[in-house]
């Protein structure tokens, strides 16, 4: 078995998850495909540095992909204006929120502005610590906290609206 065949034997079962991870971070499928291609070539060239055998491949590959995606985000975010969280209305959450189906969760997350979507995805999909998110996106830790705070408020409102619509339709 060649190195290429060994690589793809581990890569193919992960491809769908990797594609959606890139899509979640970058917000669109075209950029997700390009980022996945770049990360895959990068990973293949570093394949001999994979430690921990085949079991370590999914997390290793995902880390390379997330690094590739955040590098693209950093470049993209340089042209995004500074947010004004004070413009957002204060929304109080009602208790006992039942989150809708996972498709709705993604629909709500993807509808967020890039600044908010990226921190939500890195935090809640990739389980990154706040200071790691700050380093990955090259923004201050305080900005990560305020974006996350704002994003969660927006998501709660959006998901509650969707729940309300669904209940109204029943």
């Amino acid at each position: 078995m060649t190195a290429e065949e060994r690589f793809f034997a581990l890569y193919r079962p992960e491809a769908g998850r990797l594609y959606r991870t890139a899509w979640a971070i970058l917000g669109n499928e075209a950029d997700a495909g390009d980022a996945l291609q770049e990360a895959t070539i990068r990973a293949y060239h570093a394949f001999d540095q994979l430690k921990g055998g085949p079991a370590a491949f999914p997390a290793w590959m995902r880390r390379i992909l997330v690094n590739t995606c955040t590098r693209i985000l950093r470049k993209r975010m340089r042209v995004i204006p500074v947010e004004r969280p004070e413009d957002l209305t204060e929304e109080k959450l009602t208790s006992g929120l039942d989150l809708p189906m996972e498709g709705d969760v993604w629909d709500a997350v993807r509808a967020l502005d890039e600044r908010y979507r990226s921190v939500v995805v890195l935090r809640f999909l990739n389980d990154m610590q706040l200071d790691d998110i700050a380093a990955a996106l090259d923004i201050p830790l305080g900005t990560v906290k305020s974006r996350l705070h704002t994003a969660l408020k927006l998501l709660r409102v959006q998901l509650q609206d969707r729940q309300g619509e669904r209940r109204g339709a029943v």
Binding site: T2, G33, Q37, A46, S95, L99, E102, V109, V121, L130
Partner: protein
């Protein structure tokens, strides 16, 4: 702490990412403020469900066949391509040059690089290996732009000094600490791996200073140079 301040720190508090004194301050506030305590509980619950929802959505993903095909083809091309300095023809010339240089050393001959360059077949390579001659890869000239960025990891320090970008080639000068002479650089641009065309290296002040010539990269493109797993990202002028 004020309620607004506490609410901004709730995410870090819930995952234990605050310094001990701040953890204690938030905890003290939550024990006294019912509204913030309720907000913390809801945020914890909401965060868990958000995480589950996103992970489930990712787990159900399928890579579109056209993307998968493009990736497989691209990787297949990269897997088959070897850098020019590792290709058989180039290696044969290098081997002849090496034999020639050993013979020179054995005979205690001393020839300036300029005279070496005029020798047939091995001349320019020998001159290059001795650090002289017209085709000196080290000499980037005044048009090179400073980069001066570095990264460290795994006991390796990579410092990128200068970049010369022309329509024919992109040449990068960098140094590496803690790496063997044979470490091959990899340059990745927006379209993937950029082929390495030539490589020269010399020891300077205990560091390995390397000049690597790659295929041309478009202007204002973000590229990443990786040596032994350590990467530095910068933009072409």
């Amino acid at each position: 702490m004020q309620c607004k301040e506490v609410q901004l720190e709730l995410a870090a508090y819930l995952s234990g990412e605050l310094p001990p004194e701040q953890m204690a301050a938030v905890e003290a506030h939550l024990s006294q403020c019912e509204a913030c305590a309720e907000e913390a509980a809801l945020m914890d619950q909401f965060g868990r469900k958000l995480s589950e929802g996103l992970k489930l959505w990712v787990d159900q993903g399928v890579c579109p066949p056209d993307v998968m095909e493009r990736i497989e083809q691209s990787l297949h091309q990269h897997a088959r391509r070897r850098p020019r300095w590792l290709r058989p023809g180039f290696m044969a010339v290098a081997a002849v040059a090496a034999v020639f240089l050993v013979a020179l050393a054995g005979a205690r001959m001393e020839l300036p690089a300029g005279q070496l360059a005029s020798l047939p077949l091995v001349g320019s390579l020998a001159a290059q290996l001795l650090g002289g001659g017209e085709d000196d890869l080290d000499n980037l000239g005044a048009q090179a732009v400073p980069i001066n960025r570095f990264a460290e990891g795994n006991g390796v320090k990579l410092t990128v000094y200068r970049l010369l970008s022309t329509s024919e080639a992109t040449t990068i000068q960098y140094s590496v600490d803690g790496v063997e002479d044979g470490a091959q650089p990899e340059l990745i641009g927006p379209q993937g791996v950029i082929p390495l065309e030539r490589l020269s290296s010399r020891q300077s002040g205990g560091q390995l200073v390397v000049t690597a010539e790659f295929a041309p990269v478009p202007a204002e493109a973000e590229v990443t140079l990786t040596v032994q797993g350590v990467s530095v990202t910068f933009a072409t002028p």
